[in-house]
């Protein structure tokens, strides 16, 4: 397969000894009748013959005349593969809240009479929380589809960061043994779509639960009309080679296969935050760990 060429279009007036790709790379083309077969083979290697848009061959006084357009679809094929994996992972992710919903329903149905009030309340709480979790996963899928199709409709409203965080913790509480320290978010309000901002914060927090250490911090600060919310942890941080592609769709670290995740969370976070007029980026936390920073317009 041809690698390293984002898009390759070639139009040949006559078969040359070498072809030049759009990235300036010279591609050798040996002489003789094999030139034609090489072209076909090249099309098949990069993708398949059906994806080579045009190919005409004629004998002229100047020699063999050939017009060809070859497109390297390696990236598109890679994306298609990643998309298939994403659908698989998304379905897999949905099984977890569905399992809790099904088990809570069974427990309530089987043991309603024998259950104490506290146990009943807890089972109902699980139902509510896991329904919200499943809803968030479905909302992510819909947003991804709408963002790609340019159909996403956002609300712009004043969002109280402390209240949004409280709701996020209700939906995605920290696992046992993990502490979350929240500072500087009291009375801080920013402009965003409230529900989607909560999705962003939920994503950053659940990533920290999965990949971070046992101590998380959320720091809010306001400066010159902007609100900065940093979500950091004391885990191992993101591997250096992964950082440049961290916000690309379908990116997951090597540990992600073991601990789950659909691979679009951070890509969606970036698109949502940018749609609100803000920015999101990654920093290495000190002395170690990951830190994700979201900056959005402040409102008073």
């Amino acid at each position: 397969m041809v690698k390293g060429i984002a898009a390759l279009w070639l139009t040949l007036a006559a078969v040359p000894d070498t072809m030049t790709a759009t990235d300036g790379r010279a591609m050798p083309w040996r002489g003789g009748p094999s030139r034609t077969s090489r072209l076909v083979a090249f099309g098949q290697v990069g993708s398949d013959a059906a994806r080579v848009p045009g190919r005409h061959l004629a004998e002229t006084d100047e020699g063999l005349l050939l017009a060809a357009a070859i497109r390297d679809v390696s990236d598109r094929m890679r994306l298609e593969t990643l998309r298939d994996e994403f659908i698989h992972n998304a379905a897999h992710e949905l099984r977890t809240p569905l399992a809790a919903i099904a088990a809570a329903g069974d427990l309530l149905a089987d043991g309603l009479a024998a259950m104490g009030e506290a146990q009943r309340d807890r089972a109902v709480e699980v139902l509510r929380r896991q329904c919200e979790r499943a809803t968030t996963l479905v909302a992510n899928l819909l947003d991804l589809s709408n963002l790609e199709g340019g159909r996403l409709e956002l609300q712009r409203e004043a969002v109280d960061v402390a209240a949004a965080l409280q709701h996020v913790f209700d939906t995605a509480p920290a696992p046992g043994g993990t502490t979350v320290e929240v500072r500087g978010v009291e009375a801080v309000k920013l402009v965003a779509d409230g529900a989607r901002l909560e999705h962003v914060l939920t994503n950053l927090l659940t990533n920290a639960y999965r990949y971070g250490g046992h101590h998380l911090r959320i720091d809010g600060t306001c400066q010159e009309g902007w609100v900065r919310v940093a979500v950091s942890n004391d885990g191992p941080g993101v591997m250096a080679d992964l950082i440049p592609r961290l916000f690309e769709p379908f990116m997951r670290g090597t540990t992600a296969c073991a601990v789950g995740g659909s691979g679009v969370g951070l890509a969606l976070c970036r698109r949502r935050v940018e749609a609100f007029g803000g920015e999101i980026w990654y920093e290495t936390a000190e002395p170690h760990g990951a830190c994700f920073v979201v900056v959005l317009p402040e409102t008073r």
């Binding site: 897999h92 099984r95 977890t96 569905l98 399992a99 809790a100 919903i101 099904a102 088990a103 809570a104 069974d106 427990l107 089987d110 043991g111 024998a114 146990q119 807890r122 089972a123 699980v126 929380r129 896991q130 509480p173 696992p175 046992g176 043994g177 999965r210 073991a258 601990v259 789950g260």
Partner: protein, 129 residues
């Protein structure tokens, strides 16, 4: 004396529900939120069966099971019921090779898991006898 079941599950809500269901059947339940925690529990207690999630933070469930089986003795034959969202034939085959008694795919009916535990212990749950 009722049987003791070790439940290994990192999702707190699911752990709570499985525990509540098994306790309703009269079992003693020990809980672990990770493979490492489970190894600690297995070092100091002697559960009669283990209910195991495969996707865990850190060491995964199959790796835990390999370690458990390698320790030999009573752990070589400890009845294990897997509850997992992984439903691939390959994962199921590996689990079978590691001596898993039953493989329950999430989402599952809680009574199916409770019955599976009873079946793995080859006895009727004490409270449902």
């Amino acid at each position: 004396v009722s049987a003791t079941i070790l439940v290994v599950e990192d999702e707190a809500d699911l752990l709570y529900l499985v525990r509540a269901g098994l306790e309703a059947d009269g079992y003693q339940v020990l809980a672990a939120a990770s493979a490492e925690e489970a190894l600690g529990v297995l070092g100091r207690a002697k559960p009669d069966a283990m209910v195991l999630d495969l996707r865990l933070p850190g060491m995964d469930g199959l790796e835990l099971l390999r370690l458990v089986r390698r320790q030999g003795g009573r752990l070589a034959n400890l009845p294990v019921i897997v509850m997992s969202a992984h439903a691939s034939a390959g994962t199921k085959r590996t689990a079978r090779e590691l001596g898993v008694t039953l493989y329950v795919v999430k989402p599952f009916a809680l009574h199916a898991l409770r019955d599976a535990v009873g079946g793995a212990l080859d006895q009727t749950p004490p409270e449902r006898a």
